[in-house]
Amino acid sequence: MSWLVLTGSLGAVFAVAGLVWLLGLGKSPGIADAKHAMQLAREAQSGFRPAGAVIDAKGRAALVRGNNGEIILVRPHGAQMAARIFKSAPAIEREGGRLKIATGERMFGDVMLELDEKDAKHWAKRLEGAPYA
């Protein structure tokens, strides 16, 4: 493989990706409501039985509680969704209704939810007391 071929390939790669952007394909989906969040959590974890959910005010993330108390975090990833089930209590920062959850994975990143203050308090407590394996 010559440098010319490599440069040409990279040019074609960026041109194709640029066309995807120009066509406006793959807009980031929001999480519509609690039912949607629970469906996403079920799809993310086989056998998961959702019992309740809370959604970020702009639909950018959701927390879903299972009937055994376990908690799944769902957030958009590009035009799809990515989820994490917590195996241990995550580090949490709460400021009023803003709940910042550290997933412990640098590549997945931390996730911020804007909730009403009562919900933020309630879910922070849940995250601290969930039955982690």
């Binding site: 390939s9 995807v20 066509l23 406006g24 590009g78 035009a79 990515a82 997945f108």
Partner: protein
Amino acid sequence: MPEMLPDPVQYAIPAFIALILIEMLVAWRIDPSRYETKDTLTSLLLGTGSTVAGALTGSAVIALSFWLAQFRLFDIGYIWWAWIVVFLLDDLAYYVFHRMAHRVRWFWASHVIHHSSQHYNLSTALRQTWTGFFSLSFAFSLPIILLGFPVPMLIFASAVNLIYQFWIHTEAIGRMPRWFEAVLNTPSHHRVHHATNPRYLDRNYAGMLIIWDRMFGTYEPERDDERPRYGIIKNLGSFNLLWAAFHEWIGIAKDVTTIPGWRNKLAYLFAAPGWSHDGSRDTSHTIKAKWLESGDD
């Protein structure tokens, strides 16, 4: 070095690009969620990286193949029937390799890159391994050389197999005619393979011929009432190229260096992806078991 046959992949690249552009336009009209800018960029850059890795290591694999050919059992030349047999054997070797790539973590670490997109389109097909040489994936084809098939013939057959597998990475094609679906790998069969739905998990390992899955009990048809969800069990949530290429190798290194006991260390290398010494993670078997137990559709 003996004379090589032309590389058909070089000739197929313009067609790959043209088909990606056509599929993008179809997505624009029908379902814009099929493509996403960062995902496409990641897939294509991972494909470019794979080509670079192949260029760096390909000559070593070819040299090894010619060296091994000295010890061949038979002297099969470029006779007409040898072409048919080599295509069949190469496709069978691909099936075995591909099944191992999903059932043995060592090979999965190299193959996972191909499954790391949550989209299923023609750009996903180009998301190929960077570490195939390191994981010794090529070893699955070596018995064909020992049988006595010419090395250039085998390389040509593998290239044709690779080209065939490009067009099946699409949601733009529903199902092919029944006779075609019965014998050959198709977009429908391969959508199942890329899906993480418990019903579809670790099924349809075929390269060109779906008959191997039918013969060895790993075939699962796509259902109209269950849309495939693409990606991996623990989706990356990141478009970082290096993470996509190496995350499972990093996971192996962490497990092997932190978990005590030689048996555990070996299992973290060679047991099924998702195996853990304390049962805290899920393999495809435990996922399927939980799904069956839950009674979900």
